[in-house]
Amino acid sequence: MAALSGPAAWFASVCLVAVGVSLVLTVIRLMRGPSLPDRVVSLDLVAYQAIALMLIYAILTGEPAYLDVSLVLALVAFLGTVAFARYIEYRSLPEAAQSSE
């Protein structure tokens, strides 16, 4: 499990910065998003980008332990997205159905 060195480490650092820039773009959409589904979509992508960030950092430093963290993060992101989708769909019901449920 050797860490990268030389041009490979340099390229991995560039990839890290690129994913960070794309994370910033997604957070801009998260703050600006005109509706709640927009924000849920960008939050989902933020989790994916955090996973990608951790994987590239694991490649750079030679620490495969980050793979466990990304596995857990994928699980939590899926649960959060499903919960938000259930909430949004629940809001689409008529008022009488919402109060009786």
């Binding site: 499990m1 990268l4 490979a8 390229f11 991995a12 990839c15 690129a18 994913v19 820039v21 794309s22 994370l23 773009l25 997604t26 801009i28 959409r29 005109p34 509706s35 709640l36 589904p37 927009d38 849920v40 979509v41 960008s42 989902d44 992508l45 994916y48 980008q49 996973i51 990608a52 994987l55 590239i56 694991a58 490649i59 030679g62 495969p64 793979l67 466990d68 990304s70 596995l71 994928a74 699980l75 899926f78 997205t81 499903v82 938000f84 989708a85 259930r86 949004i88 769909e89 629940y90 809001r91 689409s92 019901l93 008529p94 009488a96 159905a97 009786s100 449920e101």
Partner: protein, 134 residues
Amino acid sequence: MLVQQVVGIFLMGAGTLFVVVAGLGVLRLPDVYMRLHASTKAGTLGVALNTAGLAVLHPALGTFTRAAALVLFLLLTAPIAAHMIGRAAYFARDQMDVTIWEGTIVDRMLDHRGGTLFASRPGEDGSSSSGAVS
């Protein structure tokens, strides 16, 4: 050793490219459904390619197993999550102020559900409203 490094770095670079494209698409596309398309497909492929790069660059049995588990889980859950959000955004678009791109010319769901079914849905959780009508 060198071939392994080149392949791994190439996979990592391709994955990064796809993740960046996903972020760009989520910021720039005009519509919830198009943003969903960018985020789900490009994001999943990017993370999967990054995971493959990690597995190639640091070969060990534990790394292979966890990388395969991560990719399998991602491929299993990403379409489900995208489908649930898209469906919820479609049915709750009045409550959530979801707007659609003005260049949209067809709504296939409108043909399938009909006007009356959507208006007079009983108080269920909505899981049987679209599949029952042919």
